[in-house]
């Protein structure tokens, strides 16, 4: 796949369709590739990579790139294409300035789980249900299902929803993803248990802002958490209150706009399952206001800037909807 992508990118650069390519290059290690911009075939040949650790969602970078002169070529996995659509809906990206190549995805690897089973990784290739890991100390075969990122174990869609061309076959939406199972488990707990669960998780937060910085929905020109006038800009994680507020506010800000791309959880250095906050909102929206997948269609109206006259009353959460 990497070679096909590079070849096609070089062609589009050569014929002038695009002036730059947004893709990935390896970081210090093979398992920490990072988004990168390439402006020539040579640059592509030197650094461009695409493999099963390339989990990061490239759509957010197009906000800045699409403001530059000339078109940008971007490779979008299914997840990323939903984010891009949502950004198009919000007028954050000029569609005319982007050339999208859709690439199918069968799940990306979680570097942490792979590393816990194999040290000194040189490469990892998935083959069917297994992952062949080449390490400095020899080859290891792992069960693929055990190595996937959380979001990929409950993949909501294999379908690239917006593209100019597809490389390979486009997939389909997976309505049976079970992605709300954990949310349901939490809902079934008592409030005390839930409080303890979230204290356990959120108290590990170090306010590094990685979740915010990677989130395609968190792409405000100026973040409220960086604005001293917003009244929510406290930085120090001094006590229990702080992380609660930060994460509630962040989840609320992206509610109805979050496509559930899972980047927040992927990048959290403290392994806080932040996606469980977003998925709660998504589940609530589906339950109360009808099925809605942010980014499935460009131009759709986000549920929190929409209403119907017979929406349920807020006391619906007091079980059964009656007072």
């Amino acid at each position: 796949m990497q070679d096909t992508m590079m070849k096609r990118a070089s062609e589009l650069l050569a014929d002038g369709t695009v002036v730059r390519v947004l893709g990935w290059k390896n970081g210090e290690f093979v398992y920490d590739p990072t988004p990168a911009v390439f402006d020539s075939a040579e640059a592509l040949a030197q650094d461009f990579v695409y493999h099963d650790f390339c989990g990061s969602n490239l759509s957010k970078y197009l906000i800045e790139l699409s403001r530059l002169e000339g078109k940008t070529l971007v490779f979008l996995k299914p997840c990323d294409s939903y984010s891009l659509n949502q950004l198009l809906t919000e007028h954050r990206i000029d569609r005319e300035k982007v050339y999208i190549i859709g690439i199918p995805c069968d799940g990306k690897l979680d570097p942490d789980t792979v590393r816990s089973s194999a040290e000194g990784i040189l490469s990892a290739v998935t083959e069917g249900d297994s992952v062949q890991v080449e390490t400095m100390y020899g080859n290891v075969t792992l069960n693929k299902a055990d190595c996937l990122l959380e979001r990929c174990t409950v993949c909501k869609s294999h379908k690239v929803v917006v593209f100019d061309e597809m490389l390979g076959e486009n997939g389909t939406v997976n309505p049976d993803s079970n992605r709300f199972d954990m949310v349901e488990k939490l809902e079934a707990m008592t409030p005390e248990e839930r409080y303890e669960f979230w204290r356990g998780e959120l108290s590990r937060c170090i306010r590094c802002n990685a979740c915010r910085n990677v989130c395609p929905a968190c792409s405000c020109e100026q973040c409220v958490f960086d604005s001293p006038t917003s009244g929510v800009s406290q930085k120090a994680a001094a006590d229990s209150f702080e992380e609660n507020m930060f994460h509630i506010i962040r989840a609320f800000h992206v509610a109805g706009r979050c496509t559930d791309c899972g980047e927040c959880s992927r990048v959290c250095p403290q392994h806080i399952p932040l996606h469980l906050l977003n998925r709660k909102f998504i589940k609530d929206i589906n339950t109360y206001y009808g099925e809605y997948q942010a980014g499935a269609e460009a131009g759709s109206r986000a549920p929190l800037v929409n209403f119907t006259m017979d929406d349920c009353e807020p006391n619906v959460i007091y079980k059964g909807g009656s007072k």
Binding site: F241, N244, D284, I317, Y318
Partner: protein, 146 residues
């Protein structure tokens, strides 16, 4: 120092100018009693109530926050309370999900003619909050004045 002093909760009520604030005024005109623990903040419309305000109130030590607006369909600005209704449903659900007592937050639709309902709502809400006791789960102790 007095022990067993009665717990007096701090309750913030956001009231839209056109219906609920007028309803609260009517409760006053009718001399309908409700606890002094309730303090009203006037906003033009329930849709002006940012969930941040509610979180801020809890952060600063409020024990309960109630939002009142025109009945759905009767919004002075036509549609404001419909948006407020969705936002508050989502916020309350999230607070509940985090294990924060959902009973500390409430939405009630009170028209300008419903002074009695306003007073009854505030009496009932204050009683609920008194039953729950102090808000400990969202208060920022750094903000506490000694």
């Amino acid at each position: 120092m007095q022990v067993n002093q009665e717990f007096r909760p701090k309750i913030v009520a956001f009231c839209c100018n056109w219906c609920s604030y007028a309803g609260a005024d009517l409760a006053g005109t009718n001399r309908s009693n409700y606890p002094a623990d309730v303090k009203i903040i006037r906003v033009p419309c329930s849709c002006r109530v940012n969930p941040l305000f509610i979180l801020r109130a809890f952060q600063r030590g409020a024990d309960g926050v109630i939002m009142c607006g025109c009945h759905p369909g009767d919004c002075h600005y036509t549609t404001g309370n419909y948006y407020a209704r969705r936002r508050m449903t989502m916020l309350f659900s999230m607070l509940d999900y985090l294990g924060i007592e959902k009973e500390r937050t409430r939405v009630e639709w009170v028209s300008a003619a419903e002074g009695a309902k306003f007073a009854a709502t505030m009496n009932e809400f204050t009683a609920t909050i008194k039953g729950l006791g102090e808000n400990k789960r969202l208060e920022d102790l750094r903000c506490k004045t000694q």
